[in-house]
Amino acid sequence: MTWIGRGIVFGLLAFIVLGPLANLVLWAAAEQWYFPHKLPVSYGTKFWEQVFKPRGDALASLMTSIWIALSTVAACLALAIPAGYALARLKLPWRTAILLAFLMPQAFPSLAVYINIARIFYDFKLNGTMFGVILVHTVHGLVFAVWITAAAFAAVDRDLELAARNLGGSALRTFLTVSLPLAAPGIMASAIFVFLESLDEFTGTFFVGVPDVITLPLLMFTASIAGNYQIAAITALVLLVPSVAFMLVIERFLKADVLSKVGA
């Protein structure tokens, strides 16, 4: 294939992949943009000021989103590290069934489930609370957390653990000083994954959180539906920053041998 041919194909691909993103950036920088102009009529930071004003919704939603995401990560790790270790190293009855149970949230379209969670939460007065939203995000994140953590622990060289036990260390001490540090990169990766999933989560929060808990994705959605494209674009960019940062860093944490053990 000549470079001209390659050029056209890659040009098209770049347009397809980066075009919509470029559109977002343009709207974030635009102040006025209407037909028939192909590019914004005027650029400016007026809408950035509006989005980030102290009494504004965006900062509050950002704080809400981050707080929920951090809590979700904490909850997920607290649940997934023991579970992952058990799945990787310990005897478990019905091991396949348990693995399948953890796969369930990914196997069923979750919208109907969210609708019913909201209804159940009504009875427990959890609807519209941060705690309720954190619970929903945690279940959603557990799938990844457990599978990746299990793979991370499985990838730790058994000989190292055996050596530590032979030297007289207890099971707990071995876990804390050998297994956990060695599995740390994989666990970090799953933590970041869970964080991002929670930050970007929309559907569950739409049913369980509204109208009291407004996360950044919900704010973006409302702005978009109301036709406020500038505000929607700016909030979208704020949402993207952690995701893109993760994408650029992911190589370091998810080594090939960890990935290959996912699903083992």
């Binding site: 519209g128 109301a226 406020n228």
Partner: protein, 378 residues
């Protein structure tokens, strides 16, 4: 023993502190588009907080259309058994107001606020067939009309039949949001049914007869045909957005949203409105106070302030381009002629009186929406 006495004394002292000195968080929950939330947050809240320094107003929006009001109803229903509810003031649509009054979830507060005597309209007494006297004060009266672009449309249609013909001749140049994205589309559909069935007065006033909906097959069939020639937009704002970008030349809009978007530079200044015959619906949104609101006194003060002639003039008419909720003469006295008349540039008071309709009574309203889903969408 001494500590016990001290503690008791402390508690008594606390309890004796007058309530007004305590910090109050007033929860105002409003259905409707973002402009409603902005109205509470940016206009009403600062004024109320200035006059009541111990109060903070928290404004929450539940979204446009009946879904937003449904969310508020669900919140109240979920708290039914508790002694104090977390919604102090709510702004809801007519349909839900009727339901909530019947379920006993609202307080009959109108007799306790001074502005109650300033509103005598039919809308303040009757919500789609349910008697709501004493429970509601209209926040504003809104009206839908067809927005049209003079550069793309030479002469706007005068009624629904002409509109259908125009849409057929100019495919995909008319747009509305169906019944799912917002109330402007719902209003359009209701207007269509009024125009294409013989007995629209009965739809608006009752009595209800379940057999009536069988007569709508012809009208709905024509609407299905019509839908093939038009664009379905993603919501109230979606219609305005497409009008702005010149993607459609005409579409139903709320008069207030139309003027607000134009003032914000989001709509070309040469756009016009046309209220087509035999009429298009409008609706009030109501201020209501839940029966067990946690801050009942502050809630009443809030509504009193929001329905005072000055606030109605400054906020409702001047800033947000709505028709006032309390009787017009009280508000008109507070404004100069120019500001008052800007509401009536394209839609004159006579046209409003003749062609501004109400929505149908609730059972008919539900029937229309269901029939649309069954016959037009499927």
């Amino acid at each position: 023993m001494k500590t016990k006495v001290a503690l008791l004394a402390f508690a008594a002292a606390l309890a004796a502190t007058p309530a007004i000195a305590q910090k109050i968080n007033l929860n105002v929950v409003t259905a409707g588009d973002q402009n409603m939330v902005d109205y509470v947050k940016d206009f009403l809240a600062p004024q109320f907080e200035k006059n009541n320094p111990n109060a903070t107003v928290k404004a929450v929006g539940t979204g446009p259309g009946d879904a937003g009001s449904q969310k508020i109803a669900e919140k109240l229903q979920a708290q039914k058994s508790q002694s104090a509810w977390d919604v102090d003031v709510a702004v809801i649509h007519q349909k839900m107001a009727g339901d909530l009054v019947r379920e006993g979830l609202l307080a009959p507060y109108v007799r306790d606020v001074s502005t109650g005597r300033l509103v005598t309209s039919e809308a303040s007494k009757n919500a789609l067939g349910t008697n709501v006297t004493g429970y509601v004060i209209p926040m504003f009266q809104s009206q839908t009309a067809i927005a049209w672009n003079p550069t793309l449309v030479k002469a706007p249609p005068k009624n629904y039949d002409e509109l259908a013909a125009w849409a057929k001749a100019n495919p995909r140049k008319f747009g509305y949001n169906g019944i799912k994205g917002g109330m402007s589309g719902v209003a359009f559909v209701v207007g269509w049914v009024y125009a294409n069935t013989p007995d629209s007065d009965r739809l608006m006033k009752g009595p209800y007869d379940a057999a009536t909906k069988a007569n709508w097959d012809g009208a709905l069939g024509k609407l299905k045909e019509f839908n093939r020639t038009v664009v379905i937009t993603p919501g109230n704002a979606g219609t305005l957005d497409m009008l702005n970008r010149g993607e459609i030349a005409m579409g139903p809009v709320w008069v207030d949203m139309f003027y607000t978007w134009m003032a914000d530079g989001k709509l070309p200044p040469n756009m016009r409105l046309q209220l087509i015959g035999p009429g298009m619906p409008g609706q009030p949104m109501y201020y209501v106070i839940p029966a067990k609101a946690a801050n009942m006194a502050a809630a009443k003060k809030f509504v009193e302030m929001a329905t005072s002639p000055q606030v109605q003039a400054e906020g409702i008419v001047k800033k947000f381009n709505w028709y006032p909720g309390i009787d017009a003469q009280h508000v008109k006295a507070q404004l100069d002629d120019k500001t008052w008349n800007k509401l009536f540039v394209d839609v004159t008071p006579q046209e409003l009186a003749a062609k501004g309709k109400t929505f149908p009574i609730k059972p008919y309203f539900d029937d229309i929406l269901e029939s649309y889903e069954r016959k037009v969408l499927n």
